[in-house]
Symmetry: C2
Subunit: 615 residues, 2 copies
């Protein structure tokens, strides 16, 4: 196991038409905006245990996680681009966490101030371990990238406290995180410290979860067992159940432990649930969780597009993080197909191009007021009552570079996972290696890779599953294998050409709402029809798949963005009755589709990914 490791994000500089701009906007806009929101609405007052400001709601047990996620993003941002003012905030908040930590190592700003007697009294619903987990992630990021010790040492103490508290040993108590997250954080802290007690605690949380007697039942919260992946022993689970973000964070921790302990059974568990998700429970955008109510997985093939759907930004981010782990553990390319599906579609849709507004729910269809019931609005928002999504982007976008390459040091294999234009510079054993990738991926399949190295290694170019034809040349000579093993010399040039036609995607007919509909995909990009681009309501349009389509620059979107245009048929019914016998009228019109991730960046508009097909 553990075929690959991701590269340190500092090693990769992106220069592509999609990710590069998103990263810089995150640093310029998203992180400052989320910091301002945390300060505005009382998160920082709570952290500093100040008297509660009248102007804002009273906070909650999960609020530390919001702060922690932004701090983690700040650590990445500072690693990519020094910023003394930002660093001062990181140091200031780190100090505050040191101060709010209880003598025994416990941290929770809210419970400490308002409800100290209730520590771990409601593991099922409070988010104490979840919040500490996010703080631990921020602490490891700050330490590993910036050498920051204050938060790191603070969270090491928390880790030691938790390791002493939870378990089946003498003097320990059983208990499971209601919202998983601490598991993957413990893996990070374990890798950073080598502290065996953390590995043991991680294994305890995985192995004990769902066993009898059920801890949630014991605290009177048996009602949430399904919702919180604790209906059965975790190792026996077969389906993605309950709250989608919880499920995927848990799987990240399971994958981490599988790698750490070389535990094949846990890896199988990950594969099993992954297959259930990808084969039966995932939107074409990578979105997961079909039900707005309770933000949960429901049943196989229940993937409606409208007002009842969910596909939370955080859940898709978690799926990408999990699939990356699985790719690195196994080297199997299909995991990276899922990563790409998430990154280019269901994740980036969650944040505006400007970087300061966010979707919680990533709809695949919006029609006039259909969304009103669900979220009260159809547009991205700058903040939410439970504002997990904005803070997820603050910490996720700066990490995009980590997805591009994976490296197997022992076998001297470098995998170019996603051929986005980028420069990478690192050492493989004792050898300096630099790669320059150029091209307009994901808008163009022509990719040029220039090597700067004098060393033997394998450069493995991943061919995405969507690509049905490709060609590869090394210094002008055709190659048939995309794993190129040789003694590389500076100046070696690889020319990879991925055929990237517009694909007509159809969904499994068991997703009955999509029957008779198609989606357009080109390369890794799923397209959507935004009403602002059409001459008719999207709901009345049928795409003619028997006619050629054209690629054109997408108006009003970043330079280089390609839209798809073609012929459509408009179907109009007479009158406005709910049900009628009136015969429809048909007319020929044009359609334009834009990358799904970029919708709702040119004003409010209806939109659909799955559109009827005219034949």
């Amino acid at each position: 196991m553990a075929v690959f490791q991701s590269l340190d994000l500092r090693k990769v500089r992106l220069d592509d038409p999609v990710f590069a701009g998103r990263i810089s906007r995150c640093l310029d806009v998203t992180i400052p905006a989320t910091i301002a929101k945390l300060e505005e609405d009382g998160h920082i007052d709570l952290l500093k245990q100040l008297p509660w400001p009248e102007r804002v709601p009273r906070g909650a047990g999960f609020w530390d996680s919001d702060v922690a996620k932004v701090m983690e993003g700040m650590a990445y941002a500072l690693a990519l681009r020094p910023d003394p003012a930002l660093e001062k905030i990181f140091d200031d908040w780190s100090e505050a966490y040191r101060a709010v930590q209880q003598p025994d190592g416990y941290i929770n700003s809210y419970l400490t101030q308002y409800d100290p007697e209730r520590r771990f009294a409601d593991m099922a619903r409070y988010h104490e371990l979840y919040s500490i987990g996010h703080l631990m992630e921020a602490a490891v990021a700050g330490y590993e990238l910036l050498g920051k010790r204050t938060l790191f040492d603070t969270l090491r103490r928390s880790g030691a406290y938790l390791a002493a508290t939870f378990g089946v040993g003498e003097g320990q108590r059983r208990g499971w995180p209601g919202h998983p997250e601490i598991e993957l954080a413990l893996a990070k802290m374990y890798r950073a410290t080598g502290d065996e007690s953390l590995r043991k605690l991680l294994a305890y949380f995985i192995d004990d979860r769902g066993t009898e007697p059920n801890c949630f039942v014991a605290e009177g919260r048996g009602d949430v067992c399904w919702y919180e992946q604790a209906e059965q022993p975790l190792r026996e689970m077969t389906e993605a159940t309950g709250h989608a973000v919880r499920m995927l964070y848990l799987l990240c921790g399971v994958a981490d432990l599988a790698g750490i302990n070389q535990d094949a059974e846990l890896l199988d568990l990950c594969r099993r649930i992954y297959r259930n998700i990808v084969d039966k429970r995932m939107y074409i955008t990578g979105g997961i969780g079909s039900s707005f109510h309770f933000e949960v997985f429901t049943v196989d093939y229940d993937l409606t597009n409208g007002s009842m759907m969910y596909a939370e930004s955080c859940a898709t981010i978690a799926l990408a993080l999990f699939a990356l782990r699985m790719f690195n553990l196994t080297g199997e390319s299909h995991y990276m197909d899922t990563v790409e599906r998430c990154l280019y579609n269901g994740i980036l849709s969650g944040v505006s191009l400007q970087g300061d507004t966010f979707f919680y729910t990533n709809y695949l269809e919006v029609d006039d007021n259909l969304v009103r019931y669900n979220s009260g609005n159809r547009c991205r928002q700058s903040w939410f009552g439970c504002s997990c999504c904005p803070t997820s982007f603050a910490r996720f976008l700066p990490q995009l570079g980590r997805f591009i390459y994976s490296v197997n040091e022992a076998d001297r294999v470098i995998s170019l996972n996603i051929p986005a234009a980028s420069h990478v510079d690192f050492t493989l054993g004792d050898d300096a290696v630099a790669l320059d990738v150029t091209g307009r991926y994901p808008y163009d399949g022509a990719i040029r890779i220039t090597v700067t190295a004098d060393a033997a290694f394998t450069l493995a170019l991943r061919i995405p599953a969507w690509c049905r034809q490709w060609s590869l040349k090394l210094n002008g000579e055709p190659l048939t294998d995309t794993r190129v093993q040789r003694v590389w010399q500076t100046g070696d040039l690889l020319e990879l050409d991925l055929d990237m036609p517009v694909e007509i995607m159809r969904s499994n007919p068991r997703i009955t709402c999509n029957a008779g509909r198609i989606a357009l995909q080109r390369g890794p990009l799923v397209y959507a029809l935004e009403e602002i681009d059409q001459a008719a309501p999207v709901r009345e349009m049928m795409i003619r798949t028997d006619q050629p389509m054209q690629l054109v620059p997408a108006p009003g979107l970043p330079d280089g963005t390609l839209a798809i245009e073609g012929q459509a048929i408009r179907e109009e019914l007479p009158g406005d009755a709910l049900y009628s016998t009136g015969a429809p009228q048909f007319s020929e019109i044009r359609f334009r589709a834009i990358p799904y991730a970029l919708w709702q960046n040119r004003g409010e508009s209806n939109m659909a990914v799955w559109v009827r097909e005219a034949r």
Copy 2:
């Protein structure tokens, strides 16, 4: 106002292919089955204040409503067909209610035994007034049809207690029923007794609801204001909101008060919300409430068909009861179109032909496991944890005869609302009138009406909105007006022929999930494709609307039931991937559709009302 009154159910004997069998099965099966269930699971132990039986759950504040609804059904059943054993149960339970009534008139078997201190402490969530309302309905039915006084006098005392308790007068308290029902019950009791204090209480509940200061907010349940139609003064409401059954029971009470007080503003309120439902929020089956979660109305045009939908049997029943009231108040035929839509489709689907199992949710589409998340099963059940639906059928089915005729005594108008084969025998002023309607409606549009009377009156034959061509003859002579005013003589024969072709129904494209789909309707019957009848999964089928369709006897369903057959195209995709680029294969097959209300009576099967159209 109050153009019409429904006829006493004893006056009408049905002899048609649909209703007659449902009524007799209710008397033979449904009422005995629900009585047995009430006894089995502790409802009657609770009513009799017996120590709690170990074998069953502990009951709830709404349990009296279940008993009351079955008692109401028993009263109708006894009126239609004497049954001493059944009458003994009615008398026994009536006596028990007399005994459980508190000295001041309050009744609630559950709170009296287990939580007496909490009387009216949580009006928003407890169902005390709801339960008393159902008891009041049962009491009025027993008194008016059978002369039973025990329950009637008991509930008169409860009515007097409530009239003294609630209001804005001195010594009274404000308070609103969380689950409306008492309103329409007060109207019944007022009509039966002429007690002005009941009319005043009814008016108070209508006029005060939603005004400031909000009573639900005052009891700390501001969260349910929308759900319980109390976000704004009731008279100002414009849309059907919140819990569907609550909304419709409330509207029944509003319509009753509109009629009693000749209150045009209240009638406008009813019209307004009715139009919102019928124009934008109702399934083609008459089902209402789009969201399984919380059983609520959502937003306009949100009418998905699958696992997230709701369309509770009780809600559709309530819509029919409301629409009948509106027809009787206004004489406007379109209300009766809605009644027919509900009766023949979304209501009768809720009960098996056998009469002993019931749907809570009336899906318009079931595909393999799509329903699992919602209800845990795809089949009708004999009982539920909250078992409102079975008991609703016990009281509703015996009343079907009340929908057939409406009479305006003053103007001497008899309306044949639904031309179902039936015999009716009543007096109009001083004149005996009998009508014999024969035919196979709703399967056939040929209707013959023989008059036995020697009197002047108007016989108004309603032409349903689905009927685009009709002819009428009186004693062989064509008529152009379906309101036939004359001095009738015994032996007069009306021959009404309603053209009843198979109609291709399309839904408003704003119901985006139905775009590109059709439903089949013939007369008032909406049809469905049940997979048991097909050569392919329904999800893969497209109906050819360019080919003729045939009417054939429906196999395995009651004699006389007509199925629709025709040509379809099957679309098969290669493989089982969630999303793929594979080209579909097409083949010609036949399809068979049966009346929606009869689905799932021949074993478990997938089903769809809205099916793709092939052109």
